[in-house]
Amino acid sequence: MSDSANAWRSSGMSELDPEAMRRFRKVESRFLDVTGARGYDEVRTPTIEPLHLYTSAGALSPQLLDRVYSFLDWDGWSGERVVLRPDATVPAARWYAASGNDVARVSYVQPVYRFEPGDADRELWQCGVELFGMPAAEGDAELLTLALELLEALGIENRRVDLAHAGLVRAVLASVGLDTAAQLAAYDRMVAGDESVIDDLTAARPEGAVALRLLSGVDGDSPGYVANLRTALLPLVSGIDQALTDLEGAARALDAAGATYRILPATARNFEYYSGLTFRVTAGGMECITGGRYDGLTESVGGAPAPASGFAAYLLRLADLAQNGGAS
């Protein structure tokens, strides 16, 4: 791209040329076919949302909130800022909360907007699904299977699933004596890449050191590993039985699907957002799908409590991977 052409374009924004659009439409079409066959109906949510939708939901970390495109529109005299949609799940949860449905399966293909450093893309096309009203074991297995089916349909090979659990992280942090606020503060440090937080916590609470070290230093690739984790952690940490059961169920579902996976207990992304199992799928070492369970979200956006989970993928990354079969 010439400098003179870039002078007429905002940082991080770019066109999709005809060839890129053909690849885009191909992935979009496969995505809608695969998810539609499983009963997921497409929705589209507004591009501009009130900022407080996201702050109220507690769905985005402060670090991500710092990177949203927020501004004052013509109604901004009220002090209410608006944002370009930084995330597609919260608006979908709002739709579900107002819909009165019991179980709902929805899919979407739409961009999210986030500040990224330098020339990195700031308009990110996502395709994703949300599954509302379906509890952990059944819902988690459905989403993991669907994610793998999607990649299969796109011809993306070399797939691996990484599993974690937000509830497990939370319970272990609580076991070393941290209240909710301190758990969030400790997690903020983890998100910021501050690995010394584990050292600080074990120094302050030596009795919980074993739990923290097991959480951050051990991972596995079978239901048997979860059984070992259960044996080691249960005497130390209360309230983790459900988390371990969720992990075990997910591992069995992936075994049944013949998938390759790892269990990395302490790598739960968006700790505040997710309440249960979280997962990411990589192909050729490149992350292509991320998702998890967020059972508290519908309540935060004005609805009744309901089980909820979902996953999303960057569509253009899937298109790149689909072109070369999953090699990074």
């Binding site: 003179s4 002078a7 407080h52 702050t55 109220s56 507690g58 402060p62 909130l65 710092d66 927020s70 004052l72 013509w74 109604d75 901004g76 005299w77 009220s78 002090g79 209410e80 800022r81 500040f115 450093p117 330098g118 209240d179 909710t180 606020a181 301190a182 969030l184 503060a185 903020d188 508290g296 309540e299 935060s300």
Partner: protein
Amino acid sequence: MTSSDRAPIRVALPRGELRTPLAKQLRAVGFVAKGYGDGSRVYRFEVDGLPGVEVRVFADEDVPIQVALGNYDLAICSRTWVDELLVRYRHDSIVPLRSLDLPSEPVVIAGAAGTTLEGLAAGIVRVATEYPNLAHHVLSRLRIPNYRLFEVWAQSEAWPPDDAELAIGPKNDLETEGLTVLAEAHRGGVWLIGNRESLSRRALDAALAPLLSLPLGSQDIGVVTPAPLQLDKGHAAPAPPPERETFRIAVPDGHAQRHTAAALAAAGIEFEGYEEKRADRRPRSSIEGVEVKVMRPQDMPRAVALGGFDLALTGQDWLGVFRSSFPSAPIDQLCDLRRSNYELGAVVPNDLPAETIAEAIAYWRKDDPGRTIRLASEYASLADQYARDKHLGRYRVIPLSGASEGFVPEDAEILIEGTETGETLRANGLRMLDVMMHSTNCAIGHRDRPPGRRGELRDEFVARLRGGADDAE
């Protein structure tokens, strides 16, 4: 040696309260910008014995943006204004170099006595602040679910408890107003900063050496990242506030005070504690049920739109600034007070060979058709509107908080500025090329007439002010 090595080293220094103690320290390390410390209205200085160094004075809050833009290589300013920029624009070109031993004020969150952040967070929290980016940073980390930021020009302490739940501002100002500090947002500090590209590409040692020998300040500075509040998830929508019975009127302080006091006197309206040279925060009216509050005229259109005031005496310029940002805000001018006359428009250097803005644009772009036109102004939204209306093409608005004299031609092509007589412009070698608006002071109110006695009182006040304005004419 490259051409940039031969260009002067440009140093930005703050005016205001920092000026006197900083000038003293600069003299002690041999960085003598003659006249900097004496409070004169001179804005550009040479430095004794350093022929390649130029000093320019800015309002403290305008310094970081000048360094970020690359207009200045080095600068000294309050760390709060640096971080106000950096917490939102992380990849900026500002490099904090050294904490200096100069007086500064922490920025805190404060509310009325007896309030707590946990208690307020159950409802919509209205927050008045001059530091919207720092406010967003600290409020999001506290996990306050639902807040509204009122970005005010100054005096955030004037807003709580009746017009906002919280103010985020300098600690001393908030405490003096009787507010209780609930949390810290920024620990203050004064810093030497540099432009990243200048530091990487240019030899700045002639200025850098003396500035780095200024006394070292506290390292306990910077943005505060508070622990999250422990709040219940899921909360009921707060009940709307009861209909207000008191008639509330806002009157300005500062430059507008003299003209407003005259307009009130001409209308036969007296507020005890509000005169040409005196303004209590809450002057008193002899009319029962009338409440008077002094605030910045810039912030009145928002306060009226929000429904906090039934009448406010401000300027048409500030009404124009507000409307250019928020055209649908529910406010109307109720009466032209016909005082404080001045013109607002595009100001350029006297020697610019152009008689119209079109000629000026053609002149600036004669060698480079894609050149960015820079507009500097205290009225940033009006400058933006002007650039759009005049089809300036690629332009950049540089917000200013004052000290605009001498800004063109070096730091901007156009100033959007107001002038009463033109004398100050002439004294600074400037002229108004294009008039945007004639401004006088005015009374404004909500588009919807208030119900009951408040509506009657508004009609009565407006009628009396109109009579006084007729006399002024």
